[in-house]
Symmetry: C2
Subunit: 217 residues, 2 copies
DNA sequence: TCTTTGAGTGAACATATGTTTACTGCAGTA
DNA sequence: TACTGCAGTAAACATATGTTCACTCAAAGA
């Protein structure tokens, strides 16, 4: 593919560092892509990743020391994404009754829009490599802390001690992860199954919040 | 190692089929052992597994057509184990108040006694291979159905419709999986961390049951 | 007793893998 | 304009992998 026919560009479309970032990102995407085809991160080979990214194996070492470091970069990306999710939910404003359904719908859309990253997080949070697993868990903990903070600030669950609040948010995050893994496995283009998923998930969260309201001690 | 010095045995200690079962089981254990060293099932190679089991690679094919089939056998074993867990909890009798703490303690002991199998289940329930993942999810669903049945029979959560009961049990199972993955990652020989784990897990379950009691519609 | 069966062996194969090496050619700088 | 740095290349390497084949030799059955 050539762009000679287009208006000639005086400056290159991409400078040196931009190009480097681009192949780095191609490597990251290639890994996610391969995982979407049904294998854990630990089962990917360096050569496969570079082949999928359209570069030669040796190029890999210009960007990462080994495959695990690429994994850590993916965890980092996923963490950024999760923080954006929280922000999106936070700024819907907070009509505390309808909030649940809205949040779940935002969550579903987020999973669809960042399918590969969620797949990565969900499989590697309990995956093979202890290093990756620990990194994912750190992001998860961060997420749940931030959620607790938001809840306190918004005055949801005012009866809870901060310890109980943390415990509840951990439970909510566990439920979210569980739900994500189920959504990712639903057959595509079956809106009925997706609606059922939303309903089940909303019910589970409502149950948890009912429990939190009844919490004593 | 020879046993000539011992009383000569008229019949061999192991007959043909027993020997076969023994190496089969050695292969299964070898795979679990390798996973305990920090890799997902999909990252294991046939040759490693046979080497660890102390047989030659070709022997593998006398027992399984490929590595995935060995994985399915491990899911089967894990399913049996989970059914035993339910049975153990069921037959403690049911003083409905102290039951929670007791069940959690039984669960903790079970995880410790079947560490490798739990590790397998937890990593492969969201792991790379869709086939394995589906198989684990089937066992999980079976488990949660059976739990719902037991709950109904024991008269716990009598206010719930069967749909709500199923939803609640799914939530409980999700929480159990989450808790298992955390326990498996705790550093060994830190009883304080384990006690905290028990407390957190009990609290989360109590929250869920409080929610279930308050459930309407 | 002799024969048959089949679990485990040992060697060979084609292919895939991680890593190193010297290289090329272009963007950025002097 | 000439020079330099460095992202990406091409080739080579030693090793690991999945799968096959003909084999051995002891237990099971005649």
């Amino acid at each position: 593919m050539s762009n000679i026919a287009l208006a000639p560009e005086t400056a290159p479309l991409l400078n040196r560092t931009e190009r480097k970032l681009r192949t780095r990102s191609a490597l990251l995407s290639a890994a996610l892509e391969l995982m979407s085809e049904g294998r854990g991160f630990g089962a990917l080979s360096l050569r496969e990743i570079t082949a999928r990214a359209g570069v030669v194996p040796a190029t890999f070492y210009r960007h990462f020391a080994n495959v695990d470091e690429l994994g850590l970069a993916l965890v980092e990306e996923s963490g950024v994404m999760l923080r954006r999710l929280l922000r999106d939910v936070r700024r819907t404003g907070l009509p505390p009754t309808a909030m649940l359904l809205t949040s779940v719908k935002i969550y579903r859309q987020f999973i669809e829009e960042h399918r590969a990253h969620f797949l990565f997080v969900v499989t590697e949070r309990s995956g093979g490599s202890p290093i990756l697993r620990a990194a994912v868990r750190r992001e998860e903990l961060h997420f749940s802390h931030e959620m607790a903070l938001d809840s306190r600030q918004a005055g949801l669950m005012p009866g809870l001690s901060s310890q109980a609040l943390e415990m509840t948010c951990t439970l909510v995050v566990a439920t979210m992860m569980f739900a994500a893994s189920e959504l990712l496995d639903l057959p595509k283009n079956q809106p009925k199954l997706e609606t059922e998923w939303v309903e089940r998930f909303v019910r589970q969260l409502r149950l948890i919040f009912l429990g939190a309201r009844a919490w004593r001690e």
